[in-house]
């Protein structure tokens, strides 16, 4: 029975969403913030004891059925459940989102009340979606949460409604993730058909046991779904532009939780992947390529939020590597650590940007170390964790575990390890660029800014965890059923060296004008290899042209096929009206297939009509009618009006009658 408490985890944010979105009580600002806070933090309060009880083995795996759907012979049994994976991810998500919401109370304080409501309503809905996804014990609830996140992501990225850029970014994110979601849905449905159940507990073993061609197909579809949501190369283009959303959104959705959901998905379905070597290898390769690509692009960024976005892409690449080489537990450990330090980095960068010269460019951060020292310290801690500063940061422990696992995973793993190591060095380079820039003296001296405790509180907590959390990586991995790798000492040293080398490189890039200039000129790299432009040219523009050609044509061909009005009249003139309407209905868009039917109808009509359009029978009738008229014209001349003429006629008639009568009596 206690398992039903799980339902209480996504419920408060959902209630918060309903309350804030429908606004039945005309809430004022205070009430809105209070409602958002309560709804946002309640999941943590409910989840923390349950997760701890489970992680300490005090409470076993739980499952709380919601309802069961009967479709023919199939049962669709919806449920939420608690196992180690969901306990860890749910705890992380509730914790990070509580931190971000507290931070957002301060960050969003300048917004209008209506916007505030919208913002928190969507944040709460997002929380509900994410939580129902991580707690789902069946694929339908899982997909429900997954899609809700996508929806909220769209609305939150385009939160700034008056900005066309923000809307375009939201639309792009939504479309790209939806492409991947369609693949995921296909994978889940196929899995459902194979297993005959939606319960993950039956679905995943059934998927892993498949030995037909459908096995790799399903695994590949799941991989595509994860890559889309996690903005992995080549789906990554939506994430950097998604930074058009407010900073708390970036901190929660586009770094810590939602984009990492792909990794959660793969960790969840790891047995299916593991059963298909080729797909597992593809996962590792895709992950490491993305890790390198993201890190290299991040180095060239001039905007701190975009830098962090590329960093998220790269870090989730590492998680994919871990899943690909068969250690999902390590991937999830990195998921937890990454959620902590990445949300920290985003939130701290938000405070620093406010304290700085304005704007989120890295150059504008100059001098902020002095103006907002606490936030700067927190940012530095996060950056250190991201860069993987050896031993003292959580990031080092988790990333090192991934690299070491890759190293132990055969010849392909060796290659992955080498590339991953390069990416790790690059990570340190970009992670410390904002830190070093912030340390530089500002161009204009300004007094120390105010740092609200609402904003700083979460930062401090997260900073402590981002550093000290390293102690938890090993136990966490073991809890999740993985075995922490034990690599050779030189492998670990190589990892440490890469980080340190990277930090040195970062200092060089920041302080040496020649190198800094080169980074500033790396425009191609900054634009993420211009994948955006390529997609635009390859997909978006042709699609738009296609749509325009299909729907925007003038439809001259309609006239050509059915040419009306060649010296015709009557019915033909009506036909002309119909043709005009078929060519260009009101609303001025054409529709070739729909028009084709109309044109065909008109053509047949015309073909039937024209041979008969001078209707011969009708003409004969009309001729007859005209003849009667003429005859009448003649007949009227008989009527002279003269009495004498009539009398003559009478007499002649009488004479004729008499003659006839005489003839009748003739014998």
């Amino acid at each position: 029975m206690l398992a039903y408490l799980l339902l209480l985890v996504p419920t408060p944010p959902l209630a918060g969403f309903v309350l804030l979105a429908l606004d039945p009580y005309r809430l004022d600002r205070r009430a809105v913030r209070a409602a958002a806070l309560v709804a946002g933090c309640a999941p943590l309060v409910v989840m923390a004891p349950m997760a701890l009880a489970h992680l300490t083995k005090f409470w076993g795996d739980q499952i709380a059925p919601i309802f069961t759907l009967h479709v023919g012979n199939y049962e669709v049994a919806l449920a939420v459940g608690l196992d180690t994976l969901s306990a860890v991810t749910a705890l992380t998500v509730t914790f990070v989102s509580a931190c971000v919401l507290i931070y957002a109370l301060d960050y969003m304080s300048g917004a209008r009340n209506a916007d505030l409501r919208r913002f928190f309503a969507l944040m709460n809905l997002f929380q509900a979606g994410m939580l129902s996804m991580v707690l789902a014990a069946d694929s339908i609830t899982f997909f429900l949460g997954w899609e809700l996140m996508g929806l909220c992501s769209f609305f939150l990225i385009s939160y700034n409604m008056t900005s066309p850029r923000a809307f375009a970014a939201g639309q792009k994110a939504f479309v790209i993730t939806r492409i991947a979601d369609a693949a995921l849905l296909a994978g889940l449905l196929l899995l459902f058909l194979e297993a005959g159940s939606v319960r993950l507990a039956e679905l995943i073993p059934a998927g892993a046991a498949l030995d037909t061609a459908r096995g790799p197909l399903i695994a590949a579809l799941l991989l595509v779904g994860a890559m889309g949501k996690s903005a992995q190369f080549p789906f990554h283009t939506w994430l950097p532009t998604a930074m058009a959303g407010p900073t708390p959104v970036s901190a929660l959705l586009h770094s810590a939780t939602m984009v990492a959901a792909g990794a959660v998905l793969l960790a969840r379905f790891a047995p299916v992947l593991a059963a298909n070597d080729s797909v597992a290898a593809a996962t590792a390769v895709a992950g490491v390529v993305t890790a390198l690509f993201g890190a290299a692009s991040a180095v060239a960024q001039t905007d701190v939020k975009r830098l962090l976005a590329y960093s998220s892409i790269s870090q989730i690449g590492y998680m994919l590597v871990a899943v690909g080489v068969g250690v999902p537990a390590v991937a999830m450990a990195h998921f937890v650590v990454h959620a902590l330090f990445k949300s920290l980095l985003f939130m701290a960068s938000g405070v620093l940007a406010h304290a700085g010269a304005g704007g989120t460019s890295i150059a504008a951060l100059r001098g902020t170390a002095r103006r907002a020292p606490i936030s700067f310290a927190a940012f530095a801690a996060g950056a250190a964790s991201l860069a993987g500063l050896p031993l003292v940061t959580a990031g080092w422990w988790s990333k090192e575990a991934i690299l070491a696992s890759a190293f132990e995973a055969g010849w392909l793993g060796l290659g992955v390890w080498a590339v991953g190591l390069t990416a790790a060095a690059l990570t340190a380079v970009y992670a410390f660029r904002p830190v070093f820039t912030a340390l530089r003296a500002p161009e204009t001296e300004t007094p120390r800014g105010r740092e609200s405790w609402l904003a700083v509180g979460p930062l401090v907590v997260l900073a402590v965890l981002a550093l000290a959390g390293g102690l938890g990586v090993k136990p966490l991995t073991e809890l999740l059923g993985g075995h922490p790798p034990h690599p050779a000492l030189w492998v670990e040293l190589a990892g440490a060296a890469a980080a340190l080398l990277g930090i040195a490189g970062s200092a060089a890039v920041t302080f040496l004008p020649a190198l800094a200039g080169r980074v500033a000129r790396a425009r191609r790299l900054r634009a993420g290899l211009q994948m955006d432009a390529r997609y635009y040219a390859l997909l978006v523009r042709p699609y738009r042209r296609f749509v325009r050609r299909l729907s925007g044509g003038r439809g001259e061909w309609v006239t050509r096929v059915v040419a009306p009005g060649r010296g015709t009249e009557g019915v033909e003139r009506e036909l002309e009206g119909a043709v005009r309407h078929a060519r260009q209905p009101e609303g001025a868009t054409s529709d070739p297939v729909g028009q084709a039917t109309v044109v065909l109808g008109l053509w047949v009509w015309r073909a039937l009509l024209l041979p008969f359009s001078p209707d011969r029978m009708d003409m004969a009738w009309m001729q007859g009618a005209r003849g009667i008229g003429r005859a009448a014209e003649r007949a009227r001349r008989l009527q002279t009006g003269r009495v004498r003429d009539y009398a003559l006629a009478l007499a002649l008639g009488l004479a004729a009658l008499l003659l006839i009568g005489w003839g009748m009596t003739w014998r």
Partner: protein, 485 residues
Amino acid sequence: MALIAQLLLPFFGGFAALLAARTGRDRERWVAIAAMAATLAALAAGVALGDDGRWLAFYRADWAPSFGIQVLLAMDGLTAAMLAISSGLGIISVFISWHVTHRSALFHAAICWTVAAANGVFLSFDLLIFAFFWELMIVPAFLLIALWGHGDREAAAIKFLVFNAVAGLGLLAAVFWMGATSDPVTFDAFALAETEYSETAQILLLLGFALAFMVKLPVPPFHAWLPDAHTQAPTAGSILLAGLLLKTGAYGLFRFPPMLFPDALMALAGWGMALGAFGVVYGGILACGQTDAKRLVAYTSVAHMSIVLMGVCGGVHFALIGAGVEMIAHAFSSSALFLLIGALQHRTGTRDLRELGGLQKTAPAFATSFALFFAAALAMPGTANFLGEALVITGMFQVNWVFAAIALVSLVVSVVYATRLIGGIAFGAPKPAVENAPDLHRYELWPIAILGLCALVFGLFPQLLIGWLWTAVEAALQPLIVVQP
């Protein structure tokens, strides 16, 4: 009795509304509402007192015995759902047309008659009576478009009339053929279902039926009347078109071809699914190209109803139940969207997405409602629309994965047109047309709320809908399963 009431109450309600208009202001509105509310009540009573077997209620009486024509009405879960939608949308149409004053009596009578004729289509199992109601339905809808429409309304109304009347001929010809060849002469669908036809005859008859249904549905290339009719129709007309008339096509497709011509349906199923798949993508792509909000939603209707065609032709449990769910879900979501756009047009005088925008700032409740049905239109899980599409796609995976893949493409395209719609209406700085637009008022808010609740409740608790439709799905599948190898 409850079944007869479904036909007579709205029919005579229409005449009562005509007469009541002379007695005082707004009387005709209340009479129309009362008639349809009574219809709903009768339906509720009929369902509550319904039998457990194949049919909830059944009624048979002779009409013209020498020609074998009967009044043969039957109701199962699917029918009951359609009847509830029909009367419910009728009431909603009256409420959101409070601003209509021009020939208001006839307007409300036409709404009542549309409901009555659609109810006749949903209930009749005597094919001749079915065909009669099928044709009858066109008349009040034609009046609604031609008399109270916007812009080029005569042309749109005539287009609607020609398409549907010509397509109805196919149905009529098939029905006459079946009646004439039966011995003794009967139009009883259950009796005719037992008749053995030659394969060619089955296919020809099916094509006759399918022509009528596919034009009403509508599936490309028979959809050309829909965008024009929707854009030119008054709001109530759009709601009834989307929520009711299109559904009669889907209902007919669901009910009769599997029952009467299972062999032919299975023989042509591949073509049907292909046409449906084409319609899904084509409707979606054209929806992306529209600047007129109502045209956009009209094209999404084409896409969604094509999914119903795919589902019916799928011939497996998932596909058929998905088709049933989709057509009910679409009745809620698209009529709500038409309602919202109609209300917006009434306020701003335009439906052009380029002239709209910024509604979120000036009318937040409006924008929130749009967002809800935006989610439904792009088949967000949790709405009934997702349920329908996911079930059809599952069925397609069982039948032919190519069609499943095409249906999945529609998920992506739906995001493009849905974001276009909401982006054009709710986002951006308030345009001049929108600046002084008042928010939703009471008479608009509660229909929206009811439609939204329906979309969400059936999406979140699908068993309600699936259990309700199941007997109909089983009945439709039974002959198909026999046919399938």
